[in-house]
Subunit: 695 residues, 2 copies
Amino acid sequence: MRFLNWMPAALQMPEPELIDHAGLDSVVYLRIYLTGLKIFVPIAIIAFTIMVPVNYTNGTLEHSNLTYSDIDKLSISNIPPGSQRFWTHLVMAYVFSFWTCYVLKKEYEIIASMRLQFLASEHRRPDQFTVLVRNVPPDPDESVTELVEHFFLVNHPDHYLTYQVVYNANKLSELIKEKKKRQNWLDFYQLKYSRSQSKKPSLKTGFLGLWGERVDAIDFYASEVERLSKEIFAEREKITNNPKYVMPAAFVSFKTQWGAAVCAQTQQSRNPTIWLTEWAPEPRDVYWDNLAIPYVSLTIRRLIIAVAFFFLTFFFMIPIAFVQTLANIEGIEKTVPFLKPIIEVKAVKSFIQGFLPGIALKIFLIFLPSILMLMSKFEGFSSISSLERRSASRYYIFQFINVFLGSIITGTAFQQLNKFIHQSANDIPKTIGVSIPMKATFFITYIMVDGWAGVAGEILRLKPLIFYHLRNSFMVKTEKDREEAMDPGSLGFNTGEPQIQLYFLLGLVYAVVTPILLPFIIIFFGLAYVVYRHQIINVYNQEYESAAAFWPDVHGRIIAALVVSQLLLMGLLGTKAAAQSTPLLIALPVLTIWFHMFCKGRYEPAFVRYPLQEAMMKDTLDRMREPYLNLKDSLQDAYIHPDFKGGDDNDSDLANEDWELEPALVPTKRHSQKTTPLTSKHGSSGPLLSEVQEN
Amino acid sequence: MRFLNWMPAALQMPEPELIDHAGLDSVVYLRIYLTGLKIFVPIAIIAFTIMVPVNYTNGTLEHSNLTYSDIDKLSISNIPPGSQRFWTHLVMAYVFSFWTCYVLKKEYEIIASMRLQFLASEHRRPDQFTVLVRNVPPDPDESVTELVEHFFLVNHPDHYLTYQVVYNANKLSELIKEKKKRQNWLDFYQLKYSRSQSKKPSLKTGFLGLWGERVDAIDFYASEVERLSKEIFAEREKITNNPKYVMPAAFVSFKTQWGAAVCAQTQQSRNPTIWLTEWAPEPRDVYWDNLAIPYVSLTIRRLIIAVAFFFLTFFFMIPIAFVQTLANIEGIEKTVPFLKPIIEVKAVKSFIQGFLPGIALKIFLIFLPSILMLMSKFEGFSSISSLERRSASRYYIFQFINVFLGSIITGTAFQQLNKFIHQSANDIPKTIGVSIPMKATFFITYIMVDGWAGVAGEILRLKPLIFYHLRNSFMVKTEKDREEAMDPGSLGFNTGEPQIQLYFLLGLVYAVVTPILLPFIIIFFGLAYVVYRHQIINVYNQEYESAAAFWPDVHGRIIAALVVSQLLLMGLLGTKAAAQSTPLLIALPVLTIWFHMFCKGRYEPAFVRYPLQEAMMKDTLDRMREPYLNLKDSLQDAYIHPDFKGGDDNDSDLANEDWELEPALVPTKRHSQKTTPLTSKHGSSGPLLSEVQEN
């Protein structure tokens, strides 16, 4: 049991310290698992004391000719049609829904106040004083910089402090990336040379080093690096001096948080599509490429992506099926007949037959989050956190349709869609509802394979381990490469959260139908909570801090799962000749949706807007603590394109860290994971991870 | 033709003068009719040159056994299934949709700029500087008045000017109404006495003057009036001095429009359900009863009303059918057998048989707008304009379901609902689409009976005339009563606009299917435009000014009609074996909805928020024009409950008029209708109206 030593350590760190250490985002992310436990543990207890006996003490399945498992005996399938016992399920549906809503409301309340507290208690950060202004209109007489300064001097005379323009640094980024690559090769060859002084390394300058003039490798890369350095310098000069490189967007800073709060929440100009203001994201959270997209283009992109996502969700099987038809033996033999002798070798043949058809789908599913992320990027969001949030909702919808519905009603999403279009609104929940109890065993397996095993893999960091070894053998050339290959990554909201939501959905749908599924879900939530708590403390880097801006999405998706579960139960009971209960069940989704609207009005503003009262309080405190602080100097360089800063191999966190370290009012016991990723091995990392790090 | 003399006069007044004279609301209301003309005249021309020939040159109906009218020969019914000619209809659907969207976009653009111009160019008004604050939280230490003052002094220190609390004046209102009634009786008896000095009028004090002590009428009412005056005075004292009468809401005024714009658009407190701020409505637009509803109660009310409206829309036939079964001869004879001899009289019997069943429905439909208005009031909106907007959308939905769908698919709304639930999503547009061409004749009749005749009745003011005469004979006692009976009323957005929208819907649905309907619609829009322009200039009073805040609703409903028309065309073509066109038609609603979202983002903010740039400009101008104006004095009494002002028979417009007359920078040629309703008869009122006014 020494294997589990890390567990108590992971659970011991108190929440405030955890916020200090890993950020509010991570802490609230952990609360999603906690919410799962809070919802499902009491539900499971009630279900097992009340519903399992009610279901089990029937003989329907025994007297029927159907094949059934013991799990089915505990489910709603065991109750004869028209039985009065369905009243239990009806009442339980109400109890479970009310309990879920109660937990959700409490959670929303706590997280909203945590967020406000976090924003209020935090050290001074540039994003608290800064507003991102997009779509600065073109002006024939003034440059963007002058225009921004004048506009805010006129319209926010008492509060405006300074601005930072956004430069188009795409070419610069490329040059810097290029230089980094060359520098790496230079290091590699120098290392090689220092190890074996006998022979100076040389290379050919042509394509892939296969032909061309043979030159001295160290000299070649040294001169290349120097050339690129000069070009970078020139490009930098050009960007600063040529107004054409200034994009129509700017970060405008204010003297007070009150001023920034006002500017971020109000409309500036008559034309609501120019001078768009919003709270600036954290400097490291800014997604620079998207800052200069005009309004019309944004709306068109949104339409394109909506249509593309629809096709992706419902028709993704078509290209995969096409690849699969190509990827069978006959297909390959027909397309490339000269390969026939190789294919006919037995080992190769069985590999192709066994793996290839499945592998196309697997590859697609592995790349799906990246595809969704690309779609979000194209859509034009301006911060990494919002990109991840958007990708997460798309991923959830995809999983709902293709994993949840796809497993219940077998057939591709398009076939389902076609079926639903030709079915009445009344019959859809029935069709799905009827299949629900039959699929319980499948989903229990799914939870164990995907959920439990996934969590276990996460603590062993199997995937990174494999990736690390692959990289280490093929691509690592210098010490720096190894460091990069060892990057533990971050939490990955866009893939992790939709996965959790699937378990919420399964739990809520099966709570009334087959309560035996609940313990599996509870084990998943419990296990995942401990594991991810450990990973957050000891492994992950924090990529950005959005102060739990994702919670309204999480809340909304749980509510959606609740409504789906209610509709499916309605459908199921509708086929069980328990028709008298249907009108009573209709009230449930209505009330749930109302509850969602109530929460939206009551708590969501805390995640979108920033109350003036808070801003004023913070301003007053700040003025008292540091009356002579020169805010302008410290804000001047906060929002600079990461590639545009001093060094070449600069870190985008640099400016931000200056900020965070500066007031240093709340000392932390542990060092931040971000700057010193290696110290944690002395802490309490998983056994295999240590191996990775020592490797 | 002398009868039509008023027409040119009505059309001559230029738009800016009309805005001055009747307000922006009325002018933009007229633009709805103009929009109808702009959309349908070009569509009709294209339809008649292209589609009518395409439809007419088929022989499908001639060779079929169906009975058909000439109108049907011009419609899509005349085209054989599977014909290539359906491509014309497909292309035309695109052309018409694009044209409609183009007109809508232009219109939205114009009206948004008219609104901003109106807000900017207008004389200084109290609502430009004032914000309505609702849900002031209870505080153990401070009264509401202190709390409001402190909160805004702290959180808006540079801009806060003053506040006015809202008093609970419900009892006062009752007393004043009572006094007014008694005063009227007093006037009546005094008049009677002055006419015939012979006999002093007397009355009995008991119930309805039927029994009780006989007293001198003049003395009795004089003493009553005096008693009530004293009570009113006491109540007023009590309200001012007792803090319990202060409701948790206030009108907070700012020194600058910039300050008010900031406060109205931002969140004030951590808890987003308290200290709710919004632009104050105009003083005469305030709906005082709803100012103090707490947030939770508001959301619950919204749920209740949503459910109630659902039942009203789909089940309103049940009570009416019940009344109808009671209201037949046998039913009455059974329920009240002693009436049998009377009922058996032939005249009475035929009256009951002919009228009673229909009359229950008619009465319900007459009272429907009032019912919807009551629902909106219960829902808790704080201004009369928003109450009317809400009632209008509900009325439109009711009409869409019960008039439009109800006429196409005969059967009550509930039967339709039941049918739709049991039908597939694919079949619903088909079911409706197929019936569309068959109902063209019915809708042409409907347009003539309801539309044309309604407009004609409006110019003749038939309904007010009848009401006036009824009132005059039964209820008018004094000169004041007559004046009140002659009140021409106001535009009535909540009943008028949904009616217009029905014609938009019919026009868009039939444009492709049966273009012969279009001229009837064009005549309606043209006629209505002229008539309502006349009425607005010469008859109606302006009740409030919301600066065209209703346009986003109007726009949204036309878009909804467009989408419905596209879906129904899809359904119709689906049954015509023109299946290859369906995928092409799907793009149309998608694009239309996208267009709606684009417009929403681009133009709606102008109707919801107030740009800071505009506010700053206005402030600067104001400061230059009147640098020493004492804003506080003029704002101090702007928002006082109408019953709480100086006089008893005060006019709620009084304070507002002071404001409007004060700067008087834009002289108007005509006097405002509002203060001098009788001068207009020398102008150009309709012939029957003059009779009314001279009566």
